[in-house]
């Protein structure tokens, strides 16, 4: 039979006609592919009806399965499972789906389930399953942690993963892979797997990862060839000379935003960190008090009700401006949004494109995005992003491999539910892309870990987590099961405290380390309000409103993203323009930076794309070596460690290392024999792996990685966000655990993973190698400026993650540090 004549298609087509809509080619292609039983991935930008591709495909399929009674029959099973990474997204999707089925006349119930869903609602869903369930990966795992969960999915015909580009490359993506493999493995009917993704550099691979469990069946990658035009408008400071060289908030430019906001219907102001978003909110309110009531703040630490209200208000077009962070990043169909403003570097091309895509949602409309630099050099990034648009340079998202922390958590999830048999579970897990190469030894090690808990003094041990009963691995202790359920998830936050008023009203959360610095009476800002700390009670910060003009802004550690490789290349090419082209041909952003380039050239040098600039500068802080590869923070971190290590082989020396996306800095209290060093040998790829392993930094970096791994792998109990009812006497810090494992169980699988992640992601070994190769074939230019240059200043001021690398004996080092202070 021809698809066009199928009952399902006819019903849907009729409905579309009534609405005056014409299906897009990619939608039709999706429906037809689903009809022929294919799996697939749909590549379409937000706001082009991507939801309706897979969703209506499922509707058509259902009607075709029940051509005579689809309008009347009561369906008691879950038909379509819709996985989405963000809660804010779920509401929009449910709304759109509900509207559609109602108009089509299909008696389907659409429900959602995520961390915000009440227990009563969850119970209801269990007893009386909806036909479509919109769910987050975490909540899906929570479902799997329930006994007899497979009956819930018995009638499921299709699982769709929305915004797959956001999930792939992250541990949430791995979680999704595991859940899909579980459903496919246990499904009694043929379960269709579909993904929806925005454009990324490796779409084909993205499809292969998602569809790995069904890789032997036919599947299809469907691309929506919709042209979406994007226009970038940089906001250029009037007096660039006085604009800060290094990381400030760009708040000086806030005034220039007011007319832009005033002339739009609804604007989104994207800020990179939560603390900066608080500051911006205050500033704009100060500059444009008339916006009070028409503007709102949206970030991850704000109380849920308020966030939900903001999302709702956006829909109803009652807000003129929302100051937000990545919390509003995903493809929410905020149709009314017509202006998007990005403050500070978006750190990558694809994120920038997605944010731009928030505006001008109608197909064919031009998406406009304003870019506001937070320091001078960021204007270069704007120029680089513009060229990215013309070349379609979009980053790939590398899928993760062998994330044992996620797997450990998942095994406990299975054991919390119905329990698992080792061989069966192994097959299911091997069927995912992430764990396709897991070895028998690794598998046995994991089983050993969850049942025996690693090194023990057998006679004196009472380790208990997973029991084995009739070959079934199962968690029998209710306490441990409960704790595990509370810990499911892969998003690790810093320890959070609740903030409440004296009357008990909950305002949001704040990081523990920030509060620990505050004295009662101190005023700080949260959710755009100034609050005075009254005191601490039961891990809750009690506050009252304050009229004080001065206040501290809490900083949250999360959300600092490194520059992608792609943007790095573009930046270096952009710098080339400055030297090669006549001033008139420079993009406006670079023209604005003329003054800065002149100072840089006067004091030092402007590197071209086949050059590496090194600056050796002496200040009262010590002896600085600034290197400017423009490769992004992660590569710089590894490169800095290696260079520092190689110098330390020449003489015993201690460095403090700092880096940002453009440069890295090695700072020492002793002069460097810079003229005697063969600079190329510092950047050689010879013995690279060995040198990486020897550079102390690997341990330091692994220690930082270990925090997330320890939480995900179940060594640290996180509790609910803001909920501080931690298990008594079970608290320990990740750095302490790292130290203990490092010394007593160096072979522990989670510890090994921390190092592996450092090599793969942090050091991005492959990228590092490429960068070093590039440097080998370029000219290294060494300059000794008399003072800090515009290029070196930013890394000195706000270089993140200061760290040390030393070739001295620890004891000697401490003594020398002491000696120097006495001088």
């Amino acid at each position: 039979m021809n698809f066009k004549y199928s009952k399902g298609y006819q019903v849907v087509e009729q409905w579309l006609q009534k609405k005056g809509w014409q299906p897009f080619a990619f939608q039709y292609e999706t429906w037809e592919s689903m009809w022929t039983g294919k799996h697939g991935l749909v590549n379409a930008p937000t706001g082009c009806g991507k939801t309706f591709s897979v969703f209506l495909g499922a509707v058509i399929q259902y009607i075709n399965e029940h051509p005579n009674d689809w309008q009347t029959r009561t369906h008691k099973e879950l038909y379509l499972l819709w996985v989405t990474p963000l809660r804010a997204l779920a509401k929009d999707i449910v709304r759109a789906m509900e509207e559609a089925v109602e108009e089509i006349g299909l008696p389907w119930k659409i429900a959602m389930r995520n961390g915000d869903t009440e227990t009563a609602e969850r119970q209801k869903q269990k007893k009386n399953p909806p036909q479509v369930l919109v769910i987050t990966p975490e909540s899906l795992h929570l479902l799997i942690a329930q006994k007899k969960h497979l009956t819930f999915f018995e009638g499921t015909a299709c699982v769709a993963v929305d915004e797959w580009h956001e999930l792939i490359g992250s541990k949430r993506g791995v979680q999704t892979e595991l859940a899909i493999s579980h459903l496919v493995h246990n499904s009694k009917r043929s379960l269709l797997v579909w993904g929806i993704s925005a454009t990324i550099g490796n779409l084909n691979e993205a499809a292969e990862v998602l569809l790995h469990p069904v890789r032997n069946q036919p599947w299809k990658l469907i691309r929506a060839e919709l042209d979406k035009r994007i226009e970038i408008i940089s906001i250029i400071p009037d007096e660039i000379e006085t604009y800060p060289w290094a990381g400030h908030l760009g708040i000086k430019l806030a005034e220039q935003l007011i007319p832009i906001i005033e002339s739009s219907r609804t604007a989104l102001l994207f800020i990179n960190t939560r603390s900066m978003s608080e500051i911006w909110y205050q500033k704009i309110l100060e500059l444009a008090p008339q916006l009070a009531g028409a503007m709102a703040l949206h970030h991850g630490s704000i109380e849920k009700e308020l966030r939900v209200w903001v999302e709702e208000a956006l829909h109803q077009e009652v807000l003129k401006l929302v100051v937000c962070t990545a919390s509003l990043d995903l493809g929410v169909d905020f149709r009314p949004v017509d202006t998007v403003i990005q403050v500070g570097s978006p750190k990558g091309v694809s994120r920038f494109l997605q944010r731009a895509g928030r505006s001008g949602h109608q197909p064919g409309a031009i998406s406009k995005i304003f870019f506001l630099p937070t320091h001078s050099l960021e204007l270069m990034e704007a120029a680089a992003l513009k060229s990215a648009l013309s070349y379609q340079h979009i980053e790939a998202k590398q899928p993760l491999q062998l994330c044992f922390d996620v797997l450990l958590q998942y095994l406990c999830t299975l054991a919390t539910g119905d329990g698992f048999e080792a061989e069966d579970a192994f097959r299911e897990i091997q069927n995912t892309f992430c764990f396709q190469e897991i070895s028998q030894e690794e598998w046995q090690e994991l089983l050993h870990l969850i049942t025996k808990g690693g090194n023990s003094l057998q006679a004196y041990d009472e380790f208990r987590k997973v029991d084995i009963e009739d070959k079934k691995y199962i968690i029998k202790s209710r306490r441990i099961a409960l704790r595990h359920r509370m810990n499911i998830g892969t998003i690790v936050s810093d320890a959070l405290l609740k903030v409440k008023t004296i009357q008990g009203k909950y305002l949001g959360t704040i990081e523990e380390w920030f509060v620990s610095k505050l004295e009662p009476g101190t005023v700080f800002t949260l959710a755009g309000r100034n609050l005075e700390l009254v005191g601490m009670k039961d891990m809750t910060a009690i506050v009252k409103p304050s009229k004080s003009k001065k206040s501290l802004v809490p900083s949250w550690m999360g959300g600092r993203m490194p520059l992608t490789a792609n943007l790095g290349i573009l930046l270096r090419q952009t710098l080339n323009l400055v030297r090669e082209q006549a001033f008139e041909n420079w993009p406006t952003e670079l023209q604005a930076l003329k003054y800065l380039f002149e100072i840089q050239q006067d004091l030092s040098h402007i590197p071209q794309k086949d050059e590496l600039l090194i600056e050796y500068i002496v200040t009262k802080d010590g002896y600085h070596l600034f290197v400017h590869p423009f490769e992004g923070r992660l590569v710089h971190e590894a490169m800095a460690a290696i260079v520092a290590y190689r110098i330390s082989l020449i003489q015993p020396i201690t460095f403090s290392i700092a880096m940002n996306d453009y440069s890295f800095e090695l700072l020492s209290d002793q002069p460097l024999p810079i003229d005697e060093i063969d600079l190329y040998s510092l950047f050689s790829t010879n013995q690279l792996l060995l040198d990486i392993q020897k550079s102390v930094n690997a341990a330091e970096m692994a220690k930082r990685k270990f925090r997330d791994i320890a939480v995900i792998g179940g060594l640290i109990f996180q509790g609910f966000p803001g909920e501080q009812k931690k298990a008594r006497h079970l608290q320990s810090s990740a750095s302490l655990l790292f130290q203990v494992f490092q010394e007593y169980e160096p072979n522990n699988v989670l510890l090994r993973q921390a190092y592996q992640e450092v090599f793969d992601q942090q050091m991005e070994e492959q990228r590092l190698r490429q960068a070093l190769d590039r440097i080998q074939s370029s000219e290294i230019i060494l300059k000794k400026p008399t003072k800090l240059t515009p290029f070196s200043f930013p890394v000195k001021v706000d270089g993140l993650n200061r760290e040390n690398l030393s070739s001295e004996r620890l004891e000697d080092r401490v003594k020398r540090m002491q000696e120097q202070l006495k001088k």
Binding site: K452, Y460, H484, G714, L730, V814
Partner: protein, 217 residues
């Protein structure tokens, strides 16, 4: 192991990089915050901390007793981490071998085992501060009552932050002796650190691997 001597109000104390203090005149070994049984407590709840940490802590404790030939052992709080577990049986086995040594515990907030348990283990428990000579022992330095006498406490898990030029920063557990109060490092290795501020006239010794390094601020 390295030793360093300090003199406080006429008392000569030997500090050891093994995180204990030996008081010659009293023939007593002093330590705080051993948190014995902590790994076992975690393991019982499904968190697989390697037990070797605990074994090593025990060895260090009984090695120190033997090394100084101490007649008395004073634990200034938090000898055990939590409720009883099998790990404590291993402690008891050692305790029997050292039955000639007197154990005193100045109770800390973690010491929640039943009274009978301490009696069976031959440990004398002091619910409040104890005065020996001109020194007061109290677990939490906040409970320091006898303002005339110098006090020695635990509870804090003191750590000292050493800063150097070129923005170097290192943190180590330490012994700290202020004008009226002293703090012992946490004896247990599976314990955290709390960075303390030290005054200009205070004495502070950082434990760096197996050395004790005097820190002046």
């Amino acid at each position: 192991m390295q030793l360093k001597e300090v003199e406080i109000d006429g008392n000569k104390w030997l500090l050891s990089s093994n995180r204990v203090l030996f008081w010659e005149q009293q023939n007593a070994l002093l330590l705080a915050d051993a948190h014995l049984g902590k790994t076992g407590h975690f393991r019982k709840e499904g968190i697989g901390i390697p037990q070797d940490v605990y074994q090593k802590d025990l060895h260090r404790l009984f090695d120190s007793i033997q090394f100084f030939q101490a007649k008395h052992v004073w634990i200034i709080g938090d000898l055990f981490h939590s409720h009883g577990n099998k790990e404590l049986d291993l402690f008891l086995r050692w305790r029997i071998d050292f039955s000639g040594t007197e154990f005193h515990l100045v109770k800390g907030n973690h010491d929640i085992l039943p009274k009978q348990w301490y009696e069976d283990a031959n440990i004398q428990v002091h619910n409040k501060e104890v005065v020996i000579g001109n020194i007061e022992l109290t677990h939490d330095p906040k409970d320091y009552v006898n303002q005339e006498k110098y006090s020695l406490s635990g509870h804090v898990h003191p750590g000292v932050l050493i800063k150097g030029l070129g923005r170097q920063k290192l943190r180590f557990p330490c012994f700290y002796f202020g004008q009226k109060q002293g703090l012992l490092p946490a004896f247990g290795e599976f314990t955290g650190l709390f960075t303390i501020e030290t005054g200009i006239d205070d004495k502070c010794f950082a434990i760096v691997n197996h050395e004790l390094i005097p820190i002046s601020c």
